[in-house]
Point group: D2
Chain length 152, copies 4
């Protein structure tokens, strides 16, 4: 039930991107006065969900059908500057690579002065929703991912 073999993630595709905005909330922060590191992943994923929605991929529908889900096999973030409560940040999500059974998303979070605060990268693999066994990305979904640049 291993999620991933990164060796397949070879060919790169044209960059597709999607932008959203978020005001940092109190619950995102911790006693250090800045956003808790794990919440940056959540903030990026929030935008990813809106991106998928635009692509016609619905989490609840796929969970209910149990046919095709895309869990995260790898995630990483670089924290360049702290995010603070009340900050309005701009998050750009982009499809960075598309493989046979996986794809990579990259996110950039910048502040209102366009300074880079953090970057996030997530690797998603297609698995059967019931068995969690790896599967190839459905052609239709793959095509929509690749064309995302045009519709986003």
């Amino acid at each position: 039930m291993y999620y991933i073999d990164l060796t397949e993630l070879a060919g790169s595709v044209p960059m597709a991107s999607f932008t959203d905005y978020y005001t940092v909330r109190l619950h995102d922060s911790d006693a250090a006065g800045v956003v808790f590191f794990a919440n940056v992943f959540r903030i990026a994923h929030d935008v990813y969900e809106q991106f998928l929605k635009q692509l016609g991929y619905s989490f609840p529908e796929r969970f209910a059908a149990g046919d095709f889900i895309i869990p995260i096999a790898h995630a990483e973030a670089d924290y360049l500057r702290p995010l603070r409560v009340g900050d309005m940040v701009e998050i750009t999500a982009a499809v960075a690579e598309i493989g046979d059974s996986s794809f990579i998303m990259k996110f950039q979070i910048v502040d209102s002065e366009n300074r880079l605060l953090a970057t996030v990268k997530t690797v998603h693999v297609a698995v059967d929703g019931r068995t969690f066994h790896r599967m190839t990305l459905p052609e239709d979904f793959k095509k929509r991912l690749a064309q995302a640049a045009d519709i986003a």
Copy 2:
């Protein structure tokens, strides 16, 4: 105010490790029925906090003093198998590298059958708690990190 220059993280030190246990909770999971990826970072950090406590490093004291805090500059995780609600997992935290102004922690999360579920890596940099400017790791803290294998 950039947190990190990873080039300094060269020399490796003897592995210091610390183990704790956690029962996966409902709030860790999402509608896919497994733990939400960002929460794996939080679960690792929970153990890191206990580890630092044993080393005599207190978050609230350092935040109050504002003298020496150690935010995360980079974090990454590999998800091998899903964590499920009710699972009792074992988390091992280890000091992987110690630099002049930063250190690396590595975490392994295994289930009750000792199968690896996830690994997490976090890079921590020492910064002044008021200015967030980078500083060298205090000698005493550095020594305790290096000796952690003995006390953990």
Copy 3:
């Protein structure tokens, strides 16, 4: 250091309200497939923070100044229908009562068909940010709360 004496919360003021929208995210849900109950409080508070911002109250500024913060002394929620991932909900925040050193907020969360999903009520008390000792609400802030209906 007790936060609250609810007996003072007598006089009611004209209802001031503020509305915002939220798309339920994966991280809000749990393995039951619906939003984890505690996250409904967070969703309400997210809107409260935007409301306070409009009133000119800044959390980070007040935390930094340590002069006047308004922690929650009581919170309650009624859950009428489950919130599901992808749902677009409308949250209405209203100032329900204003006392000498506290005030009450009420929130209603409805779905796109205007069905009530949940209600939340929070009681906020003014305390000194350093000592957490209770204090009277600053006149200016009290006035802005009361007039919120006009500016929101």
Copy 4:
């Protein structure tokens, strides 16, 4: 699909209680330096989950079977003193009332000096896991709830 009719929650039963401990973590806190109010609900629920486990009620099994789940219809908390990062708190969970199709849990959170920090109350209703329609509490579960005082 309304979860609850509180009028049925009349008869009280012998108090059953269960105690657990928790060290407040960084992610529980916010930029005010104390635990974010909604997280107190989560901390109480974490203990509730351990309590149910002792009673033989498994969330994942019930979610998978879809036969009998017990969502929260009402939750409330009183915050008496702030919880701070690093605090070791003791949480006592007790079955306060058992009705035909619902039950009430009460929680007390005290610090190491036995000072009351917060109380939480949650009302749980039995619903069919697929339809979310209300149902009577299964006799066996009801009996175990009532006897909890003996096994906890």
